[in-house]
């Protein structure tokens, strides 16, 4: 059926559905439901700056009018004014940066991987084709030899976007050189780094770009079959991807004799079942084979012995998604962005204590400061900046003194952090670095697959030390023990998880050693996070004696008569903070 207009809604699923229901209800009443198609762009982040904090957004096509901050009532207004009467509702227009105007901040963004995300309908292959989709595959198959494709990739300088940064062309050339009757290409969509959701957005918003990139890789390395491994926590991505594969098959873009050539290639989706370590390439392949996802020693590398012992090329979602654009626009174009060794753009997921959270794509070499302040709008509530955690639970933190560090693979590594898959967590002065380290260690300890003893036992020991420091029972020598253990875990583990697990702690000790010492020797947590080291008190002159804190205290630690100042008994208090939360006059202080 042909529609007169399309509306694509995006936002958190819960809210987007409310708005969608309201809009569709109104369209129904107005008798427009057969003329206007309403779709929900799957996932969480909307169109231009993909900042989810802007609430529910909608784009009306064909005129591309962009609305933001929508409520169900606003959606009904749009139905009546814009879609029925043809008068766009200016009050609801998306404004580039409504909260605080900045000097052209989004000019810092360049979209290659995210170019179609949120602007095309991910469930329609025609939308992708209209944006030059599959043109790169056609070009590769009909005009280029595999060696020529490799040459373009080499010129582009594209490196693995999963975090390690291995040159993509080199990886492909290894798998290409391997001799075997069967080869595979695998896409690693097991995005498990807390704080990183770029792969999810690409799979949900532009799945064909990844499929096309994989097909080109298959052509270069000589594979006929591919596997998409996606974590089960991403059901929408899996659904979108399966639909995209079906559509590509229907159009002859997957399957036998693609573009009338003798190249054949098909894809299968495999789902994970909740294991962080499966993002490690050898563990991932074990999981595809239906086994426990435990890493194995390398070499042999997957390029010579991967899936079922056959040569396998494995790349991250973002790496594959870059490939079609590189082939169409040329290696030089891609290499013109970025730094000497880190070319092109990278997506980052900004989260934590920052004004604008969400997904961005910037040229590599941009500084940490530019990301935090220009793109992210600065620290939440304009509090002082403390650090940024990059590289997820295997990365490290970047303190204030390195704010002007360029973001590229080498620079991040030089200060003890890592690129990782692109997590970017901003922390302010209310974030305790011991607590954060404990947190990351808990994650690593839980996700350790248990194969290597240093990782299995070492992460637990490190966690116990961190827990005791947070609990106020840290001892002299604990910091040194953490450093020593960290080095052993890194050296004694097979895979990236074990080797990287001590990184957050070591990097936080490196940059915030003083904070660790304050916890151990002075029994003070300056960020007021570690409960054993803080005390809640009520300021008598401020207290109005409303009794709200006493009524809400779960352990009855607060005494006082109505209209008189209340007192907290520190012996009974469990430092849950509910009193501070419910106090109407902010009379509860934390020391």
């Amino acid at each position: 059926m042909a529609y007169r207009a399309h509306v694509i809604i995006s936002g958190t699923p819960e809210q987007a559905q409310e708005v969608k229901a309201a809009l569709m209800g109104k369209l129904d009443t107005l008798g427009l439901n057969e003329e206007i198609e309403v779709r929900e762009a799957t996932g969480l982040t909307p169109r231009s700056v993909t900042m989810a904090s802007r609430g529910v957004e909608a784009v009306v096509y064909p005129e591309v009018v962009h609305y933001a901050g929508l409520t169900p009532a606003a959606a009904e207004l749009i139905a009546e004014e814009h879609l029925l009467k043809g008068r766009p509702v200016q009050d609801l227009f998306f404004e580039e940066h409504p909260a605080e105007p900045l000097d052209a901040p989004s000019a810092k963004e360049v979209r290659v991987v995210l170019r179609n995300v949120g602007t095309i309908n991910p469930e329609s292959i025609d939308d992708y084709i209209a944006e030059d989709g599959y043109a790169a595959l056609g070009k590769a198959l009909t005009e280029m030899t595999p060696a020529e494709v490799l040459e373009v990739l080499k010129t582009s300088g594209l490196r693995g976007r999963g975090g390690a940064g291995f040159p993509t062309w080199l990886k492909w050339s290894f798998a290409r050189a391997a001799v075997s009757d069967e080869k595979y290409v695998v896409c690693n969509g097991d995005e498990g780094d807390p704080g990183a959701f770029m792969n999810r957005r690409v799979l949900e918003g532009d799945p064909h770009a990844v499929i096309e990139g994989m097909a080109i890789a298959a052509y270069v390395v000589g594979a006929q079959e591919g596997y998409f491994y996606v974590r089960a926590e991403y059901p929408i991505a899996i659904r979108t991807l399966r639909l995209a594969i079906e559509q590509a098959r229907d159009y002859g873009l997957l399957g036998k004799n693609i573009f009338g050539t003798d190249f054949s290639f098909d894809l299968e989706v495999r789902m994970g079942a909740g294991a962080f370590v499966c993002g490690e390439e050898t563990a991932l392949m074990q999981s595809i084979e239906g086994k426990r996802g435990q890493p194995r020693t390398r070499p042999p590398f997957p390029a010579t012995s991967g899936l079922w012992g056959k040569p396998t090329n494995i790349n991250n979602v973002e790496t594959y998604a870059n490939v079609p654009q590189i082939l169409l626009q040329g290696g030089e174009w891609f290499a013109s962005m970025g730094t000497e060794k880190s070319k092109g753009t990278k997506t980052f997921a900004i989260a934590g204590k920052v004004k604008r959270t969400g997904l961005i794509e910037v040229p590599l070499g941009i500084t940490v400061r530019e990301i935090v302040y220009d793109v992210g709008g600065g620290v939440l509530d304009s509090r002082p900046f403390k650090a940024v955690q990059t590289g997820g639970p295997l990365g490290g933190c970047i303190p204030e003194k390195h704010l002007d560090l360029p973001v590229d693979y080498e620079s991040l590594a030089s200060v003890g952090s890592a690129m990782g898959s692109g997590g970017f967590i901003v922390m302010d002065d209310l974030t305790c670095m011991v607590d954060m380290a404990r947190f990351f260690m808990e994650f690593a300890q839980e996700e350790s697959c248990g194969k290597c003893v240093p990782c299995r036992v070492g992460t637990r020991q490190m966690l116990e030390i961190l827990e005791s420091i947070c609990a106020g029972t840290g001892k002299p020598g604990d910091i040194e023990a953490l450093e020593k253990l960290g080095a052993s875990v890194t050296q004694g583990s097979l895979c990236g998880l074990g080797q990287g697990a001590p990184n957050p702690v070591l990097s936080m000790i490196l940059n915030f050693r003083n904070e660790y010492e304050r916890h151990i020797y002075d029994h003070k947590c300056d960020a007021k996070v570690c409960r054993a080291l803080i005390e809640f008190t009520i300021d008598p002159p401020t207290c109005i004696g409303c009794t709200r804190c006493a009524r809400n205290c779960p352990v009855d630690a607060i005494a006082g008569k109505a209209r008189e100042a209340h007192v907290i008994d520190p012996e009974i208090c469990i430092r849950c903070g509910i009193c501070a939360e419910v106090c109407p006059v902010d009379a509860v202080f934390v020391e």
């Binding site: 819960e14 807390p194 959701f197 089960a232 989260a351 959270t357 994650f443």
Partner: protein, 174 residues
Amino acid sequence: MEDVIAATNRIIDKYGANSESLVEILRELNDVGGYLTTEHLAQAAKRLRVPESKVASVASFYSLISLEPMGRHVIRFCQDAPCHVVGGREVWEALEHELGIPFGETTLDGEWSLMTTSCIGACAVGPVMMVDEDIYGNLTPERAREIIARYRTASRQAAQSAERAGFAAQGGQE
């Protein structure tokens, strides 16, 4: 209700009785009743012609496959750093307090299981939790309590209407 053997067979057949799909078979089977019993594992081993020990080793490895009974609603609260930094701990405590169980457990009435999950990729709207299949973001202790109340009201209403339907059916028989 479909018995253990039938459910196991149905899902195994869907994947062509192929042991390469063991991870997916077990995860899907897990979603039928919320968890796997030793009967499920034994039947899967028999049909796929692999040792029971292999099936058990895979089942125990992945966090989305449970070997213990789960509640009717499962809350999966994101316990990762981005959610922690923006106030996840307070929400976490509110959930424990509201349901009266610590994380990792199921309420005695079998209504709720309180679990943690690794990142669900919704960090921009943290703290985040999933209740069954639905994602809720921008949580505060208050909002978390509201959401639980919403589910409780829905179950109460479902129970009441089921009761009414029961009465009506009985009335019809008389």
